[in-house]
């Protein structure tokens, strides 16, 4: 634990135990999404599916990066991950991004993907609002993750016909915003 770092956050008026619980729930959401996206990606096949596979893969890898970036902050603040993997899955801040009943239904898969990203966007917006001006490090981290989640949402929503995302796919490197927390 980073004792003084925790004290600073407490002194700023944040209930650190609640914040840690929130971070653990979001870390669970990231790792479980990484798992469920693995299954979705494997099933994104055929003429429709192949076009989405690449962005699903990028989102999957970046969600794992988000998990990796969140974990140190949880421990810095005196928290820890649950010992039991199943318990960790069940406290997730977002519902499981399960494969639709018909795994050939690409539209249904896209809806699962976009809903998962929207849940994440809401979750990190919430943490940013909670920590703004009070816990600079958690804010910085959450904002970096939020930037990537918003891009994921826009990539998938573009395929749903909700309008252009306005930007390009990644070129090589993943996690342009979060990578500074992984070095």
């Amino acid at each position: 634990m980073a004792r003084v770092a925790r004290e600073m956050v407490e002194k700023a008026g944040i209930d650190v135990d609640q914040l840690v619980e929130l971070l653990v729930k979001n870390a669970a959401a990231e790792l479980t999404t990484y798992y469920y996206y693995t299954i979705l990606r494997c099933n994104l096949i055929g003429l429709e599916g192949e076009g989405i596979k690449e962005i699903a893969e990028t989102a999957r890898i970046e969600d794992r990066n988000h998990f990796e970036a969140l974990v140190p902050r949880i421990y810095e603040l005196g928290g820890k991950l649950p010992d039991d993997m199943k318990a960790f899955h069940d406290v997730s801040a977002c519902p499981p991004a399960r494969l639709p009943k018909d795994p050939t239904d690409t539209l249904a898969m896209l809806k699962v993907l976009v809903e998962a990203e929207r849940c994440a966007v809401r979750g990190y917006t919430y943490i940013c609002n909670l920590t703004a001006g009070k816990d600079h490090r958690t804010y910085d981290l959450s904002q970096a993750i939020l930037n990537e989640e918003i891009e994921h949402e826009s990539w998938f929503s573009e395929f749903l016909g909700e309008g252009p995302s306005g930007h390009f796919m990644r070129r090589g490197e993943t996690s342009p915003f979060v990578s500074k927390f992984l070095k």
Partner: protein, 87 residues
Amino acid sequence: MKEFTEEELAQYNGKNGNPVYVVYKGKVYDLSASFLWKDGTHQVLHRAGVDLTEALEQAPHGGDVLEKFPVVGVLHGVGMSDIPSKP
């Protein structure tokens, strides 16, 4: 439609197997089926069994997220004309 007092509503807090009810703009919603309201808690800070109208104004989502959940009543003291047809 059933009318809930604040005391009655407080029992539906999602604890010990109780249903998860929350109030938004006078309507009582049953969120028991929501993954995001397990054990009557949402995003760590919000509890079931209370009026969340004010809290929802600050939330990173609108009241439309409640549309897919059943309305099981209204909060006592809120006139029907005050309740919007949509969340």
